[in-house]
Amino acid sequence: MTLKERLKNNRFLRNMFVFLAVLGPGIITGSVDNDAGGITTYSVAGASYGYQLLWTLLPSFILLLVVQEMNARMGVVTGKGLADLIRENFSIKVTAVIFLGLVIANIGNTATEFAGVAGSLMVFGVSKYISVPIVAVGVWVLVTKGNYRTAERIFLFFSFCLLSYIISAVLAKPDWAKVGQSLVRPAMHFDVPYLSMVLGIVGTTVAPWMQFYMQSAVIEKGIRVENYKFAVWDVVIGCVATVVVAFFIMVACAATLNVNGVVITEAKDAAMALTPFAGAFASQLFAFGLFVASVFSATILPLATAFFVCEAFGFEAGINKRIGEAPQFYALFGFIMVISILIILIPGAPLIGITIWSQVLNAVLLPVVLISMIRMVNNKKIMGTHVNNAVQNAVGWASTVILIILTGALLVSQAVTLLAPK
């Protein structure tokens, strides 16, 4: 027996090989998850509430895991994208509303990504009027001229760069006893700013467009039902990575900014404010992480959005097609890019407002997408024997209900603050 055959017959090695082959969708999705909007939310949460909000990462993790596992399962079993399934199984008007919401939210989200690009390079002293156009052109070239798979591999490497947040956090010398205490015995409040922060964290961790992205990535990989258990591990690793990075961002900001009473509204502020407390190196690492995450998501977000809309409405799509072959696809992609860049470059644009409102729209959209998903994943005609079990349904429905209540509360509070006389 040759060495090759012996290796082939080793069960453990074979399993490892299959696992490495299916690895990717979950980890990449997990990394895109910690985009500029996410980093901003975690930084602001850490700066404003210290270690108090660390507990929210635990329910976020469970929700993320349950949702992405459903996506992976639907992708593996049906071989169809989420957009595809929604169009085929719900009325065309529901589909149109979901995708209209998705496009608007993602214009806001993409603007946030470019704000992240601008902010992170400002830490290094580059003006946004230089950095944003250059990065935008770079993204366009990468998408239209480059190979998507190559790009994805580059991003997979970049996702490791997000681990730089761990170093930033350690450099900030947090009070680990307090960290542990806040996880075991969370301090709950029931005032409006606290609740909207909680919702913001959950909403940014489990962003609706991720579900579409995750399912497409699984299909792209061509994972078969037999190898599904390995895909689950990929999802678990991705979710853990997401939450770990979020955890260290919050810790870094809590240990420095919150302790010293610094108030921030943007991730860039966090990077800059770190310098006096944790050193210039920690600040630059933080900015570098922000830059990578922003470019990563600024590439994938507009592209994915255009792709899902075309998938649902039956237009030609794909970056390997020429503009004349897939006009709707390129029009939508260009539209999202141009609008979001304009928003950033207009002097005095209400960036914080845009970030908050796109997060709110995310939070409103999330239950709609979740309900659609849970209904489809329980449909035997679609899933055969791979329908949800009782635990998955319980977590799914409970999360949906809690999200709807929180979102309702947030919307009411937003309306009250907007209407209240100053």
Partner: protein
Amino acid sequence: MSVPEVTEKAAGAGASAGTVPNHGENMFIFVSELLGRPVCDAGGRRLGRVHDLKVRLGENFPRVATLHIRRGRGKVLALDWAEVASFSGRKVVLAPGGEEKMTAPDVKGEEMLLKEELLDKQVVDTHGAKIERVNDIHLLIIHKDLRVVHVDIGRRGLLRRLDLLRPVEGLTKWFFEYEVPEVLVSWKYIQPLGGDLHRAELKLNVAARGLHDLHPSELADILEDLDRESQTRIFKALDLETAADTLQEVEPWLQRSLLEGAPAEKASDLLEEMEPDEATDLLSELPEDRKRKLFLTMERPSREVLQELLTYKEGTAGRIMTTDYLTVREDQTVGDAVREFKNTTHPLESVAYTFVLDAGGRLRGVITLRHLLLMDKETPVRGLMNTHLVRVWTDDDLKTVAETFGKYKFLMVPVVDEENVLCGVITFQDIMEERCQL
């Protein structure tokens, strides 16, 4: 009744130009206009709403056979379409006593539900050789009967379904004098992919007629864009020859997936039907035990050819060569070569050359198609053949092969072993494909 085949037109303008026979509003109706309409008995009492329409496949333009009515909460009942007295106006009225003939719905293999299995689903448009999404279904009204004639795949249908046609078209007409075009494809070019997992296969067989009009490379493009279920299902519905040709055209990952999805017997038949060099490529990618099983069910001559080809190393001339070619012995005549040509029934990659061999199978020369056509039948090939041989050896690498093609501009180059025995040929197309992949 003349039915337009593929219609792409601005609705208003086209109708006046006469591309669609339009004798008033009621000539055609869209399925989306019927769905949800109230269903009443002859006395005007409301029974429920139109839930779905069932057609029998197999006819050129399938007739709506059954009406599915939703009564209150989730309860659906079926009723023969013959019981419908009228569906003009905003409601469907049944013939007297029709309400008593409602039964539990039951859909058989050769039947299809228009809403559940066709509307909003993907179909193959065999005329445009593309996958499209069904935005609406166009029914022709003949007396009281409805027949599926077109499928709407255009933006106009999409807007109509969203109730946005009027406002959007109002704007585009006002600003650009632009009417959103209607894109209808005749039913005879539409290949549904089937909805329900259990019945889909049967349905595809009834309706798979259009697929065979597609070129294998078009079929390959379509298969690559579909989900795995539909891929396997469509592939199963193809006849052996089309399936083998299509298998040669699809990407390697899909080749493996399709072959693994097919039963062993069918898989080995497919490999035999494929060109030997393509089959070898595919086989070399499969796991060892699967390969062995396939060889077991394969006919002997094909098996031996493929097993031999597999012994050559990857990236050599031997690996990409094919063993289908024309030969003649050097002591034979042009007439013999012509007979050999005529007796070769399976398609060859190229018929430009006939190779001349000695009794031991060694390559002696080559004659061209021109010789076969123009020369007297009695002429011995020995006198005609070109003995200035351009050839490659089985273990030559692909770069050498490509250079040989580049230098001599031949359509085909023979491949020989160390003893000069002809083992196979490489065509210009083979080497192009290899070089493109590099």
